[in-house]
Every structure is written in C-alpha cells, then in structure tokens.
C-alpha cells in the first residue's frame, strides 16, 4: 500500500497522534510529492486535519497533544529536539477552515508576514503579486487600506491564501479551505490552487470528493475504526494513490464505498 515517491517533500513514518490518552490517528506512512496537490479525504473524525496540522507543528498549541513516529521534511525530522517550530512554519504555511484575516488593513495582512520573515524589496509589488496569485487582486486593489474584515467570506479566504503565499513557503497546508465558502468562491479558490502548484507543494483536506477530483494529483483516504474496549474511534490511512486511481480503481472496499458516496 505504501507508495514509493522519489524525493518526497514531507514523509511520515509510522505516525501516531494522541490527545491525552486518546489516540486520534495511528500508524500513518505517507510521502507528499513535490509541486503536486495532495488531497486528504475521509469521513469526519478520521484524523485528516490532525495529520495535516502536525506537518507544521500547529498541534504544539494544544497542551494534551503527543506524537509518536517521525515526520521528515526533506529528510530532516520536524520534531527533532533542536528544531524551531517557527522556522518550520515559515517553510510550511497554512490556510485554515475559517477565514482568519488579521484585524489590519488588507495591505498589512500581506506585508506583515513578509516583513517578519525578513523579506526585502518592494513591498507594494509583493502585495500585488501575492493578491494576484490568490486571484483576489481585482476585488481589493481599490481598498488596500481598508480592514481585511471588510471583505466577503470568500475574499477573506483568498486574502488568507495570499497572506500564506507572501511568506514564500515551500509547502501550503489547507484545512478544508472552502467549507465556509459559497460555490462561486469555492471555484475561484480551486482555480487559484491550479495556478499555485507550479511553485508550491499543496496538501489540502477536503470533505468534498468532487473537489478532491478537481484539484488534486494525489489522494489519501483516511478512515476510522472502533477501538476495542472503548467507545471512541481511531483514524488510520486506508489508501493512498494517484487521484484517478483512488476514484476509478480503488483497491479497498471501504475506499470504493466512500468515493461512490455510500457512507461518510
């Protein structure tokens, strides 16, 4: 089942993540290829977001979080004792489920990240480029000095994507970026993803299987099983392959049932 991918950007080896004593997802082996879009799909509570968040150490914010196994970024252990999570997050950016622009102007929302990362050069140009790449430039070029909160939900989300791009990370993680958006905004974000994958490696969690088909090159299907002796569920990586294989020729029965919409 393990897929061999040459020169993976991120590589998980036997990753098990727990909150307190409760294991959320277990025994994940996974390689993320460079400059591709990888989609995580699966029913609720199967640990897709949990795995995603451990790629840039976002789980550090949760007290009870603990992880076993290894997550390698270009062969370097992300959870090594000397690793600075801030450095990790500068290389691996993230876009969240709910748009979360800072309470600053649109311009500052973009420039802020670039500035704290020590990027030199023409800030105006950077703001424009980032907003263009996130396909939101036309909608906000006339109100760069207005609050980021004055935009609509879809525009806010694309602003957040622009904010992540401006830092020039290598990988962008997206945690259900379209779940709070209307269909038109969703399409725009998906178009943005297509353009972005030339320069970035993208990992996206989605509930929407059509979206996974539309945007991704690779798909990882997660599933959850009951834990013996408790009433909780634990997630695991059920199948990982090229997207067209997962949707047209799934190996496991669970995957087939899920992608054909029989459960989840």
């Amino acid at each position: 089942m393990t897929l061999s991918i040459a020169d993976p950007v991120i590589s998980c080896t036997n990753v098990t993540i727990s909150y307190g004593t409760f294991a959320a997802v277990r025994n994940v082996f996974l390689d993320i290829p460079k400059h591709k879009v990888t989609a995580f799909i699966g029913p609720s509570g199967c640990g897709k977001s949990t795995v995603l968040r451990c790629f840039n150490r976002m789980n550090d914010l949760i007290d009870s979080f603990s992880m076993k196994g290894k997550v390698l970024f270009h062969g370097q252990d992300l959870y090594g004792p000397r690793v600075d999570p801030v450095e990790v997050r500068r290389r691996i950016g993230m876009v969240f489920q709910k748009p979360n622009p800072f309470p600053k102007t649109i311009y500052e929302n973009i420039a802020f990240g670039a500035r704290i990362n020590g990027l030199q050069g023409n800030m105006d140009e950077l703001v424009e480029t980032s907003l263009r790449r996130a396909a939101v430039w036309d909608e906000c070029k006339d109100k760069l000095q207005e609050s980021g909160l004055s935009l609509s939900g879809g525009q806010q989300q694309r602003l957040c994507i622009a904010r992540a791009i401006a830092v020039e990370p290598e990988v962008i993680l997206m945690d259900e970026p379209c779940s709070a958006l209307d269909p038109i905004s969703t399409l725009k974000v998906e178009e943005t993803l297509h353009a972005l994958k030339q320069n970035f490696t993208i990992v996206i969690v989605t509930h929407n299987m059509q979206q996974a088909v539309r945007v991704s090159d690779m798909t990882a299907f997660y599933n959850a099983v009951e834990v013996e002796g408790s009433d909780g569920k634990v997630g695991y990586l059920a199948e990982y392959n090229e997207t067209k294989e997962i949707f047209n020729n799934p190996k496991s029965k669970d995957t087939r049932e899920y992608v054909t919409g029989r459960f989840g």
């Binding site: 914010l61 997050r89 800072f102 309470p103 904010r163 992540a164």
Partner: protein, 342 residues
Amino acid sequence: MFTHKKRPWAEKLVDRAFIRMTAILASVVSLTVFGIFFTVGFQAVFQGDLSSLLPWNPDSIWQGIAPWNDEETFGVRWGAIPHFGLGFLANSSWNPVRSDYGALTPIYGTLMTSALALLLAVPLGVGTAIFLTEDFLPQKLRTTIGFMVELLAAIPSVVLGLWAMAMLNGFLTVFTPLHTHLGWLPFFGTEPGGPNLAMASLILVVMLLPIITAVSRDSLNQVPIELRQGAYAIGATRWTSIFQVLIPAAISGIVGGTMLALGRALGETMAVTMIIGNSTNLSASWFSPSSTIASLLANQFGEADDIQVSALYYAALLLMILTFLVNICAQVIVKRLALKYD
C-alpha cells in the same frame, strides 16, 4: 364551548404594578446620578444646606429672587463658584485664615498621581495579563494567580493605606538614592522624609493592577484562537503574534480597562489620604507631601465651615466632571475600537 375562566382583576393589577415598580426602581438609579450632580453643584454655588431651596425657609435662596419676596438679596449666601469663579482652578493657595481658596495643588496632585500610577500599572498589568493567557504555566496555576489578582482588587483601600504607612521606611530607602543621584531633576528635587506624592502613586499602582490585569486578561482570552493560529502559520514568533495580532485585536478591552482604572485612580480616597501627606502647598517634586482632590475632601471636610465647605464642594464637582469625562471616553473608545468578529 369552553367555559372560560376570566383572568382575575387582582392578577392583572399585580402584574401591571410589578412592571411599573421595576420601572420606578430603575429610575431611582438615574435620579441618584442626577441628585449627586445637583447636590454637589448646589453646594458649590450656595452656602447653607439643601433645605434653603424651600421658599418658606428663613434662609431661602429665593428671597430677593422670587416675586413673592421683595426683601434685599442679603439673605442669599453665595458659595465658592460665584466667589472664586474659574480662578479657583489656577489658584494654589488654600488659606482658611484669609478665606482664599484655590484647587490648583489638589488638581495637580490628582492628575500627577494618576498619571504616574497609570504609567507603571499599564505595562505591568498588561504584561501580567499576557503571562496569564499564554501557556508559560500550567492552567491550574494560572487560574490560581488570576483568582489572587481578583482578591487584590477586593482588599479595602483603607487596609492598603494602613499597609503603606507600615511600609513607609521601605519606600524611603528606595526613594532616597533617587534624590541623591537625580536630585537635579525637579521631580526628585526634595529629600524624601515622610508621606509624599510618589508613595501615593505607588499605592495607586497596587490598586490599579488588578483592574487592568483582569480586564486585559479577559479581552485577550476573547481573541479568537484562529487569529493566533493564523499568525503562527505565517511563521510569527510568540511575541510577534502577541504584539502584532493579539494585542491589536484586544485593544478595545485593554484601553477600556485602563480608562476604568484611571477613573478609579482619580477618585481614590483613603489609601491616598493616608500616605500623601495632605499638604496644600504646590511643589513640583514627587518627594514632597501633596494632596489630591479626594484626599483634600477626606482630610478637610470634617472641620470646614462656611465658604470652605462650598470650596470643597466646588473641588468635588471638578472631580466628578473629571471622572465623568474619563468614563464617557472609556465607553466611546470601547465602542469605537471594538472588533466585529463572529
């Protein structure tokens, strides 16, 4: 057909009376505010008690004014506002012998103690609030410290004053080197030898800290977690996200709490009275005894009579206007800066 039992009239009456009563009780609050302003204002304009408002009182203020009384106006005893006018604010003498009163010294003392106290208490309080909202300490310990800070707010001001008096010598050992080395600065110009303005400011800091800490902590806690995640996700360090994202997002609460604390500082009475030295001589030095409007009232009101009482009410009116303006500002600022986050 249903046999319909009619609602008894008594029940309707009780219901209506109850609603009316709550309205009346609510109005009492506003009437009290109005009454305070009116009473203090009246006493600042006239000498004599409130009963001289009644036309049949022999000392009535209406004599000479009211058409039913054609006597001379000699009966009206004007108070401090007609006597001293706006010059009251710029006059630094407080002289019961010559009946010459001005509030410059206590006004200066009030503003200076409050400003000094805020200058120290805001960074300390906001810093502590940040410390208590970050994950430096285990949650349980943080809750305990939060509870203790709330307790500090509940300690009566007079107890803090007594404590400050007991700590007097401790304060002096801190202040004396400041005078020896920086005595050329007018603020440190006099030798600290007893109660003084700087001590009053420090005790105000102790009283303001819990307010600023508690309010800032609450507003920092209300910043949505998504914002913090957003900041971390673009590679912000802890303190970059605190200064650039969390504090700006919580600023309305922090400023509101600070203004609230300023209102408290301006009107704080007992601890200040016990430790400021109650001198009505104007001095630029923080190490010389001084007074605030509130301490002047607490210290002098009991022994004052005639025009001095009225002058004290004039000072009280100034204090009320000051705190009123600060509170209005606080409300406006909180509304203006409040983020619309859903």
